[in-house]
Symmetry: C2
Subunit: 330 residues, 2 copies
């Protein structure tokens, strides 16, 4: 369930586009007239928040389209010019279409200075098959190559062995489960893990090709038959980075809200906090399952996510994130 | 270019469905009245050929839909009941929607008694990214699991290592080529092949993720820089089955008409000929690139494909195949 709040009466895309244009122009004037004063800034940014943090993906796409037609400029480019820092990144990411946003995040994750196996894993494992497919299509369109080839090219060793099949997957999404298979594959997983063969091709095959429903059945069998949840057995060496990632794969595939809760918790608790992670999780999940992530957060941290974010962030960035996670009215 | 010939004035799907129904009913009558005579059979089967071998995929789909609505029966099931042997398989395969047909062929290829790494490779490498994607969707819908999981489950060792990435691929389809990359990856391929590391993950990565245009550029560089076409270097041990498959991958990705020419040549030249291969290539390529395959066949064998097929097959099966490869009028 989404936390995004859309007003009952939504202005037309052209009204929204016009308001955004005004916000930019006012700001430009303000900047000319009172270059060294910050007066006026707040108003404009509030308007941007009021509009963009309260429109769903289809509505934001329409606004972008209408904006480009009316003013001959890309809304995203204008936002980029007008905004700065964490607020800028949050607004830009959220305004993007979900598939384009994921393609952008995945592309960053294959680049040298922003490389991240975790983000690639997160996109591969927490999105539905069709969402992931749309990410791949957006990747083709934007970068003129495939997500898989960039992931394969920019990873090595055991990480490549795991990540390439994960991003390549087009899992079956139905609820049908084969119990005989679940039993036999639970045993395979247990045998390999007992022998510490964590990168065995059978382990990779099972986690990267089976449907989420089938995998769930397999892991339930694992738990019942061998006495431990698989992620407990995967903690043999708590400092092993590959094992950490593999546990996250399991979590992301079976209980994504718990996975995202943990990312948020670590981002917020970090000294100085990790705004990139915070922004990523809030912008990508606000329209998907943020209600459940918030429940998981409250349960685990005994403090509402809104409060934790408010304590940790400030200004327009804070306002924007809080709007996305459903604090206040639309 | 397709060899399939569709008449200028195509009857409506309901007229076609009605004609097919009549063909079945006449046949049923014939079978009752003259059980031990073959009189009458030809006519009905000729009608089936006249219709189904001269309608494109969209038209055949419409006929199936209208047929099911009008008679409450699946056209494919009726064809299965009425026809036999190679003719039956050819008509059934061709009548299927291309994506459903490939899903069916791929599923057979993962089954114990019809298992074939070659057919999996052929489907993965000769179809466009979007065609392959539609095969995967059809596979989900029909078998309630994913193509990748069945391929991964039913293959082992080096074959799994190659085939799973190939069927998982969603290659970029644009013409853009990165020449620096082509050079560096040509060198990687040459190094690995010189060391006989044919199943090296870099080799698999390059052939399974790069766009066909990019791969082509890489292989051209290979040829220019190292003096041999890659497939020549991959012939070090001519009896090695994995190397054979790897050469076929390269051929299928870069010159599919040559690949299919060879499959046809071997199917026809085999003692007793290989009807399954013949049927597969003719039914899957008639609407795609059979014109070029026929050219390649004539060039390589100095005999037109029509003549070779006519010499090697007979009866309705022969008539159906010849109709599909464009012999005679629509």
């Amino acid at each position: 369930m989404a936390t995004l709040k859309v007003p009952v009466h939504v202005p037309s895309p052209s009204e929204d586009a016009e308001q955004l244009r005004k916000a930019f122009e006012e700001q430009a004037m303000t900047m000319n007239c009172f270059r060294y004063s910050l007066a006026g800034w707040g108003t404009n940014e509030q308007l941007i928040i009021d509009i963009l943090a309260h429109r769903n993906a289809a509505q934001r796409n329409s606004i972008r389209k209408v904006y480009a037609e009316a003013y001959g400029e890309d809304l995203l480019k204008c936002l980029e010019k007008e905004l700065t820092s964490d607020f800028e990144r949050a607004v830009l990411l959220f305004t993007l279409d979900p598939a384009e946003r994921d393609a952008h995040l995945a592309n960053e994750a294959t680049k040298k200075f922003t490389s991240s196996n975790w983000i690639l894993m997160e996109i591969a494992c927490s999105r539905s098959s069709h969402e992931l497919l749309n990410v791949k299509k957006a990747y083709h369109a934007r970068y003129k190559k495939s997500l898989e080839e960039d992931v394969a090219h920019h990873t090595t060793g055991e990480y490549r062995k795991l990540l390439v099949p994960l991003v390549s997957a087009f899992r079956y999404e139905g609820e049908e489960v084969n119990m005989t298979l679940a039993k036999s594959e639970a045993k395979i997983l247990h045998d390999k893990i007992s022998d510490k063969h964590y990168t065995d091709e059978e382990v990779i095959r099972i986690v990267s090709t089976r449907s989420k429903a089938q995998l769930n059945a397999t892991l339930n069998h694992y738990n019942t038959s061998f006495g431990n949840a698989i992620n407990k057995d995967l903690k043999a060496d708590p400092s092993d980075e590959f094992l950490k990632l593999l546990r996250a794969v399991i979590k992301c595939l079976t209980t994504p809200e718990q996975y995202f809760e943990k990312v948020l918790r670590q981002a917020i608790n970090k000294l100085g906090s990790d705004e990139w992670a915070l922004t990523r999780v809030v912008t990508t999940r606000a329209e998907v399952d943020m209600v459940r992530i918030k429940e998981a957060y409250q349960r685990r941290n005994s403090i509402p996510l809104e409060q934790a974010i408010a304590k940790d962030t400030s200004g327009d960035y804070e306002k924007f994130l809080l709007a996305l996670i459903g604090a206040g009215d639309a």
